[in-house]
Amino acid sequence: MKGTQSCSCRWTRAAKFKGPRAEKNSLMHPIFGYHGRYLRVDLSTGLSTEILLETQLLREYLGGSGLGVALMLKEGAAALNPLAPEAVLAFVFSPLVGSPLTTSAKFAVVSKSPLTERLNDSLASSGFALAGKKTGYDAIVLVGRAEKLSILLIDEHRVRLESAEDLVGFSNRKTQENLLRRFGPEFQTATIGPAGERLVPYATISHDGRHAGRGGSGAVLGSKNIKAIAVRGTRRVAWASPPALMSLAKKLSKKSFGPATAKYRELGTASNLLMFNRLNVLPTRNFQQGSFENAAAISPEELNVTRDRTRSSCAACTIGCEHLYSLKSGDGSVRLEYENLFALGPLCGIDNAEIVLEATRRCDDAGIDTISAGGTIGFAMECAERGLLDAPWLRFGDGNALLRSLDSIVSGKEIGPLLAMGSRRMAMEIGQDSIRFAPQVKGLELPGYDPRGLQMMALGFAVSTRGADHNRSGAYEVDFSEAVDRRNVGPESAHLAVETEDKAALMDSLILCKFLRGIFADLFEESAEILSLVTGWEVTAKELRATAQRIVTAKKRFNILAGWTPSEDTLPLRMLQNALPEDSESHLSAERLASLIKAYNLARGWSEEGWLPLGQAASLPVG
């Protein structure tokens, strides 16, 4: 591990951490927006080390996903088994956390994914980001493994473990309630549910009902025998230009009440459902269809008139996109997003809203990614219906089968161990060419966008370092515009996918919520102004474009070190061989996808196949 170590200490239970504080970075220049150091905790040895972060590294990778991948490269995490004790898991904050900027209370969880064996960066929001940064660190990096299931407490500079053996098997909800009673409201907690304890490779890390959801960071935390992290602190960073920042934050908040965010505010992301259905891009019954005949029954338009609905928002957010719907069982309410609605609804052929909501709640409690869970169960349903899997009870449209499957993933009983593999490994286990319709890229299950009818998104899915993913590539935005014919995208448009990926990399590293993206006339220009006011750096849009490209390249570098080959950048064969049954124009051939990928790689300055030029690789952090 390279870096400038400022001090370290081995914990005894509840021992105080002592040592010099680094109020300035190693060059003794004041840093605005950052603490200029991260905390590295070895859970095996109890050694906590404070490591200084060079200003250049912060400026080149910002925070969140960007700083996270830089730390992963420095730690040499790509070569490690993601569930081995020596594996690295980082909670990364950002220069904007704690600022008055709307939606900036976010953190990234970065590691090697146990599901994809590639880089995984998942984001979540709210109080954990604020309290985590107030501990005085820009990131908290975990290595090693605690002897038994534990809670890691970081109380500013005091680091200690407490037993969590009384919490074994507890849901996220119950764990967070327990920790609130135990430690009080000043501590913010990130937890895993029973799925994380069982190392389900698509287990999540939960905070206050939200999840760092994709790619299995919950399993990585579980492999370290950490049930929860609790953080508290009082250390705030200074901003370079507070009055101007406050003024800009007010303007941003005002804009966030405008039409660009009205959909999220008033209806939530679930309102995509009927529109996607109309365009025949709503994945249905394991991507065998692009529309669902009973979509209206589970749409928010229907739920809004049949159920109580409440709204919520993350800390420091003026949008308030969260819409919670009541369960008819009377057992509380459930946060509903488009992705869990599609994955636990049409993808499994389910048209019963109560089942979808109950399934969502079980995923949240257990701590499993709803997209991967629904994708894997939908795949299993098709395998069962085709006679490839001996599970006659597992049928599309059967709500009880969906709930039984979810429970089995968490309990490890019945078909659970197979489903807990995710669709790629499950297809390898089943064989019989089932991999051709396993709904995954690099092992990560596809979100709710059929790539045959959204071909710019198809490219985004194929090349994304995280696997099939709508958060690291917002290429669907191009599909939903006049810039391309979404069902016949050509290689001349590949640079547009690069652009959306770069925008996502920037927002995920600053960090700002992507639901804000519509209010920026020029994201790079306006982000440069924001970052300049926070850090005092004279940042330009050009620099941030280069920063975003560097971050994407660093992620690719990580994957190459982890064993990536060009053959991974593709889609399931079904999607390259069969047009959507509702729309014969929605056809994406393997040849066209290959031409898009080639054009994308060249637009990135990589080789046609996607390898990095020596110069680019050499400029990235090394361990």
């Binding site: 039409p259 959909k263 309102s271 995509n272 529109m275 365009l279 488009y338 966008y449 939903f480």
Partner: protein
């Protein structure tokens, strides 16, 4: 509102007078997301030979929709339209054919 308290959004067929229907070319407009919430209907029939004409007609008949999503013959930021479920369009000068369907929707997906 129906007796059971539900809004008529699900069916959402707007009653139009014969006089109005007889004016010019007719297209079907399907509404999604905020446009649907503002108009209070899932779809309607509008008059106009261009996209801009249709927007003007919609704004006149659905003032809340017009205020939220339309600016004269143009769409406001945050909204887009799609022709026949195929091609995304925003240019108000685009010519329409009798019986065309136009989808009016919020711009961003995601989530």
């Amino acid at each position: 509102m129906r007796k059971d308290g539900r809004l008529e959004i699900k069916l959402g067929i707007e009653n139009r007078s014969k006089e109005r229907v007889s004016l010019g070319m007719q297209v079907t407009v399907e509404l999604f997301g905020i446009p649907r919430a503002r108009a209070g209907v899932a779809w309607t029939v509008a008059n106009g030979s261009t996209l801009g004409d249709v927007f003007l007609d919609l704004a006149k008949r659905f003032p809340d929709l017009g205020e939220a999503c339309l600016q004269g013959r143009f769409l406001k930021d945050g909204y887009t339209a799609n022709l026949r479920g195929e091609q995304f369009v925003t240019d108000p000068a685009i010519h329409l054919n009798e019986g065309d369907s136009i989808l009016l929707l919020s711009l961003d997906a995601g989530g």
